[in-house]
Subunit: 191 residues, 2 copies
């Protein structure tokens, strides 16, 4: 019973954060949407921050899980990195909550929301860094700073998937994989 | 005389845009700062948009000129691209007006300002695209979409010079050149 109620509260809060954003969501609203008394919410969560934190943590875990699922040990480093990055950015594009949070961070700069976005990016970078370290160790790729390389990879993907698309229309998954291979793995040089 | 007055107006307006941003600058303010009557400004510029446009156009020309100056035909493609990109982004970092405009676009999303930033980025991309086309023609680099390649290069530089620095401290010019060479020109692959 308590678990069901907690689940109800989490679902209602996820809906409210997705529709109205973090700032405009109140505990009253969540109580109404969840069809529970406000006191019930406080038996599970001290405040809005705590409620938001739990939702974001499970969102991030879900994103990590999905990235791990697409990794195939038989595949090359670059194919796996591409798959994981693509999956994590698709995740961000598909989920109503992440879409709303990116919009809120961009338009209002809400600090609690910007922190969440930083946390999501750190998870992506951490995930890639581990794969990059292994690829350096096995000499599949040249020695480099794993964290910076992960950062550059993420930025390139975000540029292609979000910024390039806005002006030039979407790129499909294979095109992005080929661009990633050309620009970052093989390099532009002919020599 | 008219030329001196026009120059006075342009200098005053540049100062006002740099200090208060585009939105908060009024023709009254510019007249006061330039020490001329408001009517005098209107003999040169129909409105604030036109005044802003003239200032931005000469700013962009100055940026292009500076990028052209660092190009050395004896140098490699990647060294020249690095020099030009670095110079253009330094320009953006050094000029009070560009700093203010980027801040205004980020914090307030003023449309006229966002357009200017897009224009500046287009100039950088156009400048690089021409060099990339030549490098493809001379087979120095692999066939690729010149505009997209220019876009990816710009985004990588902005990521390293602005975003990476914020969290990890500045990278010096040689480090950036080496990273550009590693990531985009030579590629990460050991094979």
């Amino acid at each position: 019973m308590a678990i069901d109620r907690k689940k109800q509260v989490l679902e209602a809060a996820t809906n409210s954060f997705s529709l109205f954003g973090y700032k405009a969501t109140t505990m009253d609203q969540v109580a109404k949407l969840a069809n529970v008394g406000k006191g019930t919410i406080y038996t599970f969560f001290k405040n809005k921050e705590e409620l938001f934190d739990e939702i974001v943590s499970s969102l991030i875990n879900e994103m990590k899980r999905e990235a791990e699922e697409v990794i195939d040990p038989q595949e090359t480093f670059s194919e796996n990195v591409h798959r994981a990055l693509f999956r994590m950015l698709e995740f961000r594009k598909e989920h109503k909550l992440t879409i709303k949070l990116y919009q809120e961070a961009r338009e209002m700069g809400t600090p609690a929301v910007s922190e969440v976005i930083d946390r999501m990016e750190e998870v992506v970078i951490e995930f890639l860094s581990q794969r990059i370290e292994k690829a350096i160790a096995s000499e599949a790729i040249k020695p480099c700073n794993p964290e910076m390389t992960a950062f550059v990879m993420l930025k390139m993907y975000v540029s292609l998937i979000f910024d390039w698309e806005r002006a030039h229309g979407p790129l499909d998954k294979d095109e992005i994989a080929n661009l990633f291979e050309l620009y970052l793995i093989k390099g532009l040089s002919n020599r």
